[in-house]
């Protein structure tokens, strides 16, 4: 696999076919419009496109002076900070490839990626990340330079050789610039659309993460298609708060901003996102379902603590919104009485609520990554917030399917996005072909070939089908769809999602492939259940204590039985009703390897780690003792001893299952 430093086909349709070129284009045509904001010291600091180009220019020269060459890889680790974004573009100007990493990766994960990606340069946010890199330096022999943004706590560190501050780098760059006039502009002019723009590591529910190489063409064309399809303009406001290592952040907060020319806002810190969101009032927003879910949970918790009158008003108008809100949003016929009520509701409830959530100005909000609960989805849409689902992948530069305006359903992911072809293979797997299809996996020819066919189709690994309206419906990962001993289909993700839609339930792990019946592990949501417990005057010490309460088990049983009643309606899935379940004594945690960094459950890993509990679900025991090693956030380990009760739930309708135990 060679890296195209010169382009093979020199044809140019659009002169601004790379991110650096787009940057300079905006610096010319809208030099004084805001390009980026960051809240620092309590005040939003703004950089215009011209100022941003200037900052990037200094970084380009600085990185060059430090020895960054075309084809080098530059790791970027930290929260969404302007200087980190700028270093990524700066690297692209030189022809180097930025590799953003998850800022909460533990040392072992980092070592793997730094070595796999042959990282020579790293640009990081602060002391925390510098410490992490210094700790693993010996095991990453290729790492030569670490550049940091925030000096705090780093003054005493030895600054010879390895460590540099971004400020120093930019000063170095200014000297270099004087010696090589117009270096930045010349670099930018040399960038080509088919050059690699970025390498993103997929979190990998199995095996080691793989580096997905995307070109400028992948990013820019996909980004532009999205901008045109959704009618985005240079006036949008976006809040960049999702991990920089996620493909979505690179498309929504970087590429599309560069294509459309809109402003990207970096929050003050991860804890202040809610406040910052309210102050900025983004018009274009994206979040995984989990974020929408958390916001809704908070709203509900706070409403439960509100006075009786407020609660009545809220409940009444939310009911009105549920009935007509989504229909008004979809432009359907609604009678004037209902419209009137909705208007009053807007004054009294919806508008203030949206204001608190920071959703007042939203034109378009995306959710992706996981299935979203119908209740959650409907809640936002009924408030008049245009939340849409999209189906995407890192390998596709995000977009595969998007829901068109007016045809938004909770249980589908929409129709193929602009420029994307989608088909379903004979064994039910979803395949796509698009301008966003990745170049290859870095140094992994074998995986590239098994994922991408000769003629450019990519296997998603997801099982799905098109419904009667032509909307794609995803059931589960293709390889996870299994069979019960009775031969009936078992789609674990489908069960998990259905159960996770209850606010009391945070995570679910379903078992059933090759078994007699379906059974699940449940993580309760500490916020929601904790609040409920407080209102019941139930004292508890923490998660483990609460999880072991019989009242809580009863509450979860009700949820499970509702899911069962739902499943009983569907002939294909009624066999996978949940017969037995248990509430895990600890929260599933990415630090223990139980979740991926994007918070997807790693089912096989969990099945191994909690083998005793899984056996308990199936051998008819009523309780199981567990002895677990747990890792705390500071890296220390401890033990957790608990007795876990195993619960049974009622199944409905047709059952041909054999009794166990």
């Amino acid at each position: 696999m060679s890296e195209p430093s010169t382009t093979a086909h020199g044809s140019k349709i659009d002169p601004a076919d790379t991110l650096p070129k787009l940057l300079l284009q905006h610096a010319r045509i809208r030099s004084n419009s805001p390009a980026m904001r960051e809240k620092a010291f309590g005040i939003w600091q703004t950089w215009t496109w011209a100022e941003m180009a200037d900052e990037v220019g200094k970084l380009v020269c600085g990185l060059k002076a430090l020895g960054l060459e075309s084809g080098d890889k530059l790791a970027v680790v930290g929260d969404n900070r302007p200087r980190l974004y700028w270093s990524m573009v700066a690297a692209q100007c030189i022809g180097a490839i930025p590799v953003p990493l998850y800022q909460d990766s533990v040392a072992a994960e980092m070592i793997y990626i730094l070595n796999d990606a042959d990282i020579r340069f790293a640009v990081v946010e602060d002391q925390e990340q510098v410490d992490k890199l210094l700790e693993i330096k010996d095991r990453c022999p290729k790492l030569e330079n670490v550049v940091y943004d925030e000096i705090r706590g780093l003054r005493d560190y030895e600054h010879t050789g390895l460590l540099h501050s971004i400020a120093d780098l930019q000063t170095l760059g200014q000297d270099y610039d004087r010696a090589h006039s117009d270096f930045f502009e010349r670099c930018v002019a040399e960038t080509q659309g088919d050059q690699f723009a970025i390498m993103l590591y997929t979190s990998g529910t199995t095996g080691n993460p793989k580096g997905v190489l995307l070109t400028h063409d992948n990013l820019v064309i996909t980004g532009r298609n999205g901008v045109e399809q959704e009618g985005l303009t240079a006036d949008e406001e976006v809040l960049a708060y999702l991990p920089m290592a996620w493909v979505g952040d690179n498309l929504f907060s970087v590429t599309q901003s560069y294509v459309a020319g809109f402003c990207v806002n970096c929050p003050e810190s991860t804890e202040t996102v809610m406040t910052d969101m309210r102050e900025i009032g983004p018009t274009y927003y994206f979040a995984p379902p989990r974020v929408y879910e958390n916001l809704l949970t908070q709203v509900i918790i706070r409403m439960e603590d509100a006075s009786a009158v407020k609660r009545k008003v809220f409940d009444y108008f939310m009911e009105v919104a549920r009935k007509v809100g989504s229909r008004i949003l979809d432009g359907e016929q609604v009678n004037s009485m209902e419209r009137m009520k909705y208007w009053i509701g807007n004054v009294l409830v919806y508008a203030p609520l949206k204001n608190v959530l920071g959703f007042s100005r939203i034109k378009l909000a995306f959710t992706a990554g996981e299935a979203i609960g119908p209740d959650i989805f409907d809640f936002y849409r009924s408030l008049g917030i245009n939340v849409k689902q999209l189906y995407g992948q890192t390998e596709a530069t995000v977009f595969i399917c998007v829901q068109p305006n007016g045809q938004v359903r909770a249980d589908t992911v929409g129709v193929p996005a602009a420029g994307v072809e989608v088909k379903i293979s004979d064994d039910g797997e979803v395949l796509y072909r698009s301008p966003g299809v990745f170049h290859s996996y870095y140094k992994n020819e074998k995986s590239t070939r098994s994922t991408k066919t000769e003629d450019g189709w990519v296997l998603t690994g997801d099982a799905g089908y098109f419904d009667d309206e032509g909307h794609l419906r995803i059931i589960d990962r293709a390889k996870d769809v299994g069979k019960l001993t009775s031969g009936a289909m078992f789609a674990p993700k489908y069960l998990e999602n259905k159960l996770k839609f209850f606010p009391q339930v945070k995570e679910v792990v379903a078992f059933g492939d090759g078994r007699d019946f379906a059974a699940v592990f449940v993580n309760i949501d500490l916020d929601a259940v904790g609040n409920w417990a407080e209102r019941q005057n139930m004292a508890y010490t923490g998660y483990t204590d609460l999880a072991a309460r019989p009242e809580v088990a009863e509450m979860v049983r009700e949820c499970v039985e509702k899911v069962n009643a739902d499943l009983a309606e569907d002939s294909r899935l009624s066999a996978s009703q949940i017969r037995r379940f248990l509430i895990l004594p600890k929260e599933l945690d990415a630090d223990d390897g139980e979740l991926t960094r994007t918070r997807k459950v790693r089912r096989n890993f969990i099945a191994d780690r909690y083998e005793d509990l899984v056996n308990g679900l199936y051998d008819g025991r009523s309780a199981v003792d567990v002895d677990l090693e747990v890792k705390f956030e500071d890296g220390r380990t401890g033990r957790l001893l608990a007795k876990v009760e195993i619960q049974t739930a009622q199944a409905y309708g047709v059952t041909e299952m054999r009794k166990t135990g």
């Binding site: 010291f41 706590g153 003054r155 005493d156 202040t272």
Partner: protein, 262 residues
């Protein structure tokens, strides 16, 4: 800019004795604190640690002995004089304005540096406006420094204990003190909060060069972060020295672990 080297003597206590009626809280204590130093006073409960701090910032007046601060010797001083001279402190039991936001609490720390009159402040014009902006800027730096951004506008009473302690540290810092007295900053905290607080205390010392006198009974914390340790027991001075010296001092070991009676 690395940590500033430890300099001249900033504070000197000479033969301090303090008693309440018949109770001798401090007897004949002498020690000194140098510029940019992180000094700790340790000792079992009732050893006279808090009394010593109260003497330093002029809240108690010792019957004997004198305090020399920045070359000025005095035996009696009012609390506000201490503040004017650049001594700020936090308390063992949090003493914040519970109903006010974090931001407002920190602004009160700037009080001594405000010169505009009440009338000027009421109309928010000229000097008052300039001052307000300047002080707010300074306070925002502290908010950033102590990672308090997310609670900037939250009333202090609603915050968890560990954060309140941090706010109190922030208020003391807002006065830009040359000597900072911390009365058990880690008391009642869990491990993580303690680690955070240690980090902040060290950062304050490094970043602002502030001289710090710290009272603490968590030995591990003290030994980890201080340059010099003064050990008190029943109002007596047991030992002064580096953490290592103190750790190996037989008298200290006896006081902390007790001595076998036979």
């Amino acid at each position: 800019m690395a940590r500033q080297p430890i300099g001249e003597i900033l504070l000197k206590a000479d033969n301090i004795s303090l008693s309440f009626g018949g109770v001798k809280a401090l007897s004949n204590i002498s020690f000194d604190v140098r510029e940019h130093e992180l000094a700790a006073i340790i000792g079992p409960n009732g050893a006279g640690k808090s009394s010593m701090l109260n003497v330093i910032n002029g809240f108690y007046h010792p019957q004997q002995g004198q305090i020399t601060f920045k070359g000025q010797t005095r035996s009696r001083m009012k609390v506000h004089q201490a503040a004017v001279q650049g001594i700020a402190r936090t308390f063992q039991n949090i003493a914040l304005f519970k109903g006010m936001s974090v931001l407002d609490n920190l602004m009160t720390g700037r009080n001594l540096k405000m010169h505009s009159t009440m009338l000027e402040q009421a109309v928010y014009w000229g000097r008052a406006r300039r001052e307000e902006l300047e002080h707010r800027g300074k306070v925002e730096e502290i908010i950033d420094f102590l990672n308090l951004e997310s609670v900037r506008k939250t009333p202090v009473g609603r915050l968890p204990y560990g954060i309140q302690k941090r706010v109190e540290l922030g208020r003391a810092l807002a006065a830009e003190p040359s000597l900072l007295l911390l009365d058990e900053p880690m008391a009642g905290m869990n491990l993580e909060e303690k680690e955070d607080m240690c980090r902040f205390v060290l950062d304050v010392n490094e970043e602002f060069g502030t001289t710090i006198v710290l009272i603490e009974h968590d030995m591990a914390v003290v030994m980890d972060i201080s340059d010099r340790v003064t050990v008190l027991d029943y109002g007596r001075l047991l030992a002064v020295g580096t953490p290592d010296e103190v750790r190996n001092n037989q008298e200290v070991i006896d006081a902390y672990l007790g001595v076998a009676s036979d």
